[in-house]
Subunit: 355 residues, 2 copies
Amino acid sequence: MTDPKPDTPERPQRATAEMVARIAKVSRVAVSRAFNPDASIKPEKRAHILDVAQTLGYAPDRAARALVTRRSHLVGVIVPDVWSPWESQEIDVLTAALQNEGFATLLFKTRTDYSIDPTLLTYMRGFNPDSVIAFTENVRPRTLTKVLDRAVPIYIDYPQTAGDGYWDREDEGLLFDRLNILTRGGIEQAVAMMQGYGARRIAYLSGLSRSLASVAREETLRSIMRERGLPDPVLFPGDFTYDTAYSATLDLFRLGDGADAIFAANDVGAFGIIDALRHELNLRVPEDVMVVGFDDIQQAHWKSYNLTTVKVDIDQRVQALVRLILRRLKNPHVPPMEETIATRLVVRGTVGKRG
Amino acid sequence: MTDPKPDTPERPQRATAEMVARIAKVSRVAVSRAFNPDASIKPEKRAHILDVAQTLGYAPDRAARALVTRRSHLVGVIVPDVWSPWESQEIDVLTAALQNEGFATLLFKTRTDYSIDPTLLTYMRGFNPDSVIAFTENVRPRTLTKVLDRAVPIYIDYPQTAGDGYWDREDEGLLFDRLNILTRGGIEQAVAMMQGYGARRIAYLSGLSRSLASVAREETLRSIMRERGLPDPVLFPGDFTYDTAYSATLDLFRLGDGADAIFAANDVGAFGIIDALRHELNLRVPEDVMVVGFDDIQQAHWKSYNLTTVKVDIDQRVQALVRLILRRLKNPHVPPMEETIATRLVVRGTVGKRG
DNA sequence: TTGACGAATGAACACGTGTTCATTTTACTG
DNA sequence: CAGTAAAATGAACACGTGTTCATTCGTCAA
């Protein structure tokens, strides 16, 4: 109350293009051009301006720039759980790649059941992301584009087998850019290896029931097993989490008929399975039950698990993602494109000789 | 080249306050007021405007708003590894809390050796974060404030014992808001328990050598052990990662003299220790060697590790963080404040009877 | 030297919003 | 009903930048 002024600018004002111009003895427009690679300005003049800007710690205000450019250089990432190993590893690599291209990652959390609060989209819209990457499938692309008109939505984990009406697919092609996982390669190797070691009753621990990623893996698994003359996989329900996988495994072996081998929808689930088998059911892995995961997260090589798993190459995925984003940002009118990442089996210690 | 126009506005223009005003038959200023809780506007008028805005999917453009308000509602988070379990779990909770308050998390990655690229600060500055949370200590607060003049920097993992000159501390108090961990409580319980089970030679696996968090834990450990008449802890160097912990443990037992118990600077390091002991050195945990971690990350309760560890309550930390941020944003001139989070031991299975 | 042409320059405008301030309307008191 | 204070309104300006367009500068050939 007795303060002299509520808004006393004690700290030095942030450097602005105007200030740089004044000190460098040039016009403000020249400063703008110095920071815009395509603008025409005499090289030595640009160098001088950048030099002055450097000493002043000046960088163009992205808010002001966004206002006129219509480019925020922000990429929104929608994710249920940041701490989930696979997602966090992908966000890590993605953030590095985006940072390299002059973008920054903007994080938004959805409910953990992978559903999106409708108000979240409007909320997100206020930040004007140039692109949106949804780590969840429970929002229809059309809904996204309706709200985020200026943003470029990209969907990942989009299974190839799930185009049957649920998703917006026009007759002549795609409506949106997509990034797919070609699950077949890795799963085929996994089944071959398990079968080679004598597994016949193979169970599948699913992810969240409505998850398209989980469904795609399940269908691929079943189709491969049929081709190889194996009985259909025993299905038991998970939700991508350790705890659920743990108790589901107990149910499978105590209430159900067990299995020779288990294929999990993701690595974390596989960890839950392994721990339930070893520490609660007194079964050996792989001698009594083989386990295969999906993702190949960092933790998969930890010695306690040493998990044989289907690897999805994160670097490849992120490169493809960034490629898609930049392509569409450069020209919003190019037709939607779809990139596909292959998978392969990483052999460690959870598949092996029986007995 | 033959395209009609490069800028054809095919998709509907994003709704603006102007459009809302026109449809709702009010002035644009009224729309602004409707979205500003403190502004004075007739309640039914506001309701009507918000209603129209709702159907148009309108939300105020934060870039434009930031330009005049000087508030971007962005909180920058500087972190070396997003996927690192502890960091990703804290980012997860923090993002949820910030989202709840109308802010969004902006992610920036530093080099993995925890050092900050000087250009990153200028880069970050362009985005005008209202506040910056640094998950790394290798940047001096003063450097940060120099570049991010408008932002409110907050430091976490700031050890209480490390105020000796390295950090900017004025005689009369703090220069910046801080969040501390009171390591003593949890470590004291851990040492007492290990000693109770007969451990005498206790080793400390450090984090990154220059990490203040690691140094603080080490000093607290040593001081407690001295008070209890134990010999100084054997120090062996880690860097918070699994792999380094693993090989460092092999060195400790093959080249060095081993230990009765090991206290790790973080949980992930403890996992590496446990796996090296069990799977490579054929030692039992806790019967041959006890292990205690620090953090209590989600993975600590996984049955393969079942780690006894010093818990830092993430929810408490995030609540304190958000409190600090909002407080300073509300009034940038309040004196810096320091909050401290207590720790406590979570007892699981890696400390127990010897033999 | 003149002419012409491309490169470089700066004035003015636009982006979408919050805020100030003078003005008008509403509500309440006597 | 008159009078007054409080509440609500709208015009104009500001925020910091990119961009357009008419103008000026520089260069080189004739």
